[in-house]
């Protein structure tokens, strides 16, 4: 007997109120969301695995500069990017996670590599890059993740009040998630 299939995705949550985004931007976001969920949906419709489906969705979302993961990730105080990701399989509760990665082209894929090819649940910092290199994955320069919008937001925060760095606010443009 086959199970029903189900799928859901998210970008960030926060101060998203009608009128703050242009209609053009809203349409662009809807298109990205549809593209991302469609990637996973095709896998599920073809009787594929839920783990492959969630990875496919998140890889698409990581490519979208509207969301804070992968390309378009926010800047740290020192002007670089640190990326985090986790993946988990419900069948056996196997899991993999990375924290503070700097050169992983697709962070969620890196997390899956940790899950499937390491003896560990979570790797952090430079260890992530070393592990990925051992797996033959090509690193990218950290500035690959830069976008003009994120740099502008970082500049505004850096010059307005650097002390707010550790305390996320609800101010517009202050990405969290």
């Amino acid at each position: 007997m086959s199970s029903p299939i189900a799928l859901a995705i998210h970008g960030g949550a926060g101060v998203l109120k009608p009128g703050r985004l242009s209609e053009e931007d809203e349409n662009d976001i809807h298109a990205w969301l549809h593209r991302a969920i469609s990637a996973g949906h095709r896998i599920l419709e073809a009787d594929g695995d839920s783990l492959d489906a969630v990875e496919a969705c998140v890889i698409q979302l990581e490519e979208c500069p509207w969301f804070n993961a992968g390309y378009g990730a926010v800047f740290t105080q020192d002007g670089t990017h640190e990326l985090d990701a986790a993946i988990m399989r419900g069948r056996d509760r196997n899991a993999g996670a990375i924290a503070g990665a700097r050169h992983a082209r697709q962070p969620i894929h890196a997390a899956r590599q940790v899950m499937e090819y390491s003896d560990h649940v979570m790797l952090g910092g430079s260890g992530v890059d070393a592990f990925l290199a051992s797996r033959g994955l090509q690193p990218v320069d950290n500035d690959f993740f830069d976008t003009p919008l994120r740099r502008q937001q970082w500049e505004e925060h850096r010059h307005s009040n650097g002390a707010m760095a550790l305390e996320p606010t609800h101010a517009e443009g202050h990405k969290f998630g």
Binding site: P4, R89, G100
Partner: protein, 136 residues
């Protein structure tokens, strides 16, 4: 933060989450990392969950595992568990954000305590939907 949860035809759930943290973070802060149990969880006995929001509050309330535990040990359904955690446990200590979750029976929840959350889902008829604001 981005994430996905899925249930496949074989009855297995999975969850994935990816983020860059908060703007201007320092000291190697990992407060927004989707830790297993806080921001990400998948267990065929309960649900798959991915979270987005103020990460350190999600860690303190072990959001993803709390939802799963309420279902597994307390016998509540997915929507009840998600509402209790996102609008209760999390909000009570000031945590803003939301979760997406899917149970092995196909139940799907997208719940948040903020004015909006970028999101998309498949309904029971197979139609895909996208939304941004709470009222969408």
């Amino acid at each position: 933060t981005v994430g996905a949860v899925a249930l496949d035809i074989h009855g297995h759930v999975a969850a994935a989450t990816s983020t860059g943290g908060i703007t201007n973070k320092r000291y190697g802060r990992i407060g927004d990392t989707p830790l297993i149990g806080a921001g990400t969880w998948a267990d065929d006995r309960s649900a798959a969950i991915s979270a987005t929001g103020h990460g350190e509050y999600f860690i303190r309330t072990a959001v993803a595992h709390d939802i799963a535990a309420r279902m597994q040990y307390g016998g509540v359904d997915l929507t009840t568990a998600c509402n209790a955690v996102v609008h209760g446990e999390l909000k009570e200590i000031g945590g803003d954000g939301g979760v997406i979750a899917i149970a092995p029976n196909g139940d799907t929840c997208l719940i948040f305590n903020t004015p909006g959350m970028y999101r998309a889902w498949r309904d029971e008829k197979g139609t895909l939907h996208t939304a941004i604001y709470a009222d969408d």
